[in-house]
């Protein structure tokens, strides 16, 4: 396994290569995609990208947690968390690509 880390720069480079926009426009578009997805999620909307996966927001109830090091009880406030459920296509591709 190569274990490289890609960033926004690699995504905008791919857009630059594939679509031929300027590098500036490419990185702005990558930024806009992430911004629109984030905004929808913050509004509590689900973001469903076919053949990629679904991002959804879940409400977690308050509970009493414990500091595992000290054993001390700490209250955990109710909060909203984001979950990502990969599509079957993505799962299949990740399984196939990482087979030894």
């Amino acid at each position: 396994m190569s274990e490289k880390t890609l960033t926004r720069m690699d995504l905008s480079e791919a857009v630059f290569r594939e679509v031929g926009l300027s590098r500036n426009d490419s990185s702005q578009l990558v930024e806009s995609v992430l911004a629109h997805m984030s905004d929808a999620l913050v509004e509590g909307e689900q973001v469903k990208i076919s053949s990629f996966g679904t991002f959804s927001v879940r409400d977690k109830a308050a509970r009493v947690g414990r500091n595992p090091k000290t054993g001390e009880e700490v209250p955990i406030n109710p909060r909203r968390v984001l979950t990502f459920r990969p599509s079957h296509q993505m799962k299949d591709r990740v399984v196939a690509g990482n087979k030894r």
């Binding site: 880390t5 926004r8 995504l11 629109h36 689900q46 799962k91 399984v95």
Partner: protein, 93 residues
């Protein structure tokens, strides 16, 4: 929001682009992330989150209908961890 709604929003914001180009841009971004994970790479998008691949060890599974033991091979699964900024925004911070 679904893929086509995302494309529509971007097209509205970028009247200088053809809609089919906006479509290619969006597809390229998601394909690039999937390609990276299928190579075992990570994709870190600061503020939004990080996509990575986790290894699941081989294990003995069970067919729930027959109760029969079956060997489940080692496999890799996609994983997403929400970025700090987005996590804070979700909670109104």
């Amino acid at each position: 929001m679904i893929r086509s709604e995302l494309i529509l929003k971007l097209a509205e914001e970028n009247p200088h682009l053809y809609q089919r180009d906006v479509e290619r841009i969006v597809n390229t971004i998601f394909d690039e992330i999937t390609d990276a994970m299928s190579r075992g790479d990570r994709v870190e998008l600061r503020g939004f989150g990080a996509f990575s691949v986790k290894k699941r060890d081989a294990r003995m599974g069970r067919n729930p209908r027959t109760g029969e033991s079956v060997k489940v091979e080692e496999k890799h699964v996609p994983f997403f961890k929400t970025g700090k900024l987005l996590r804070d925004r979700l909670n109104g911070k």
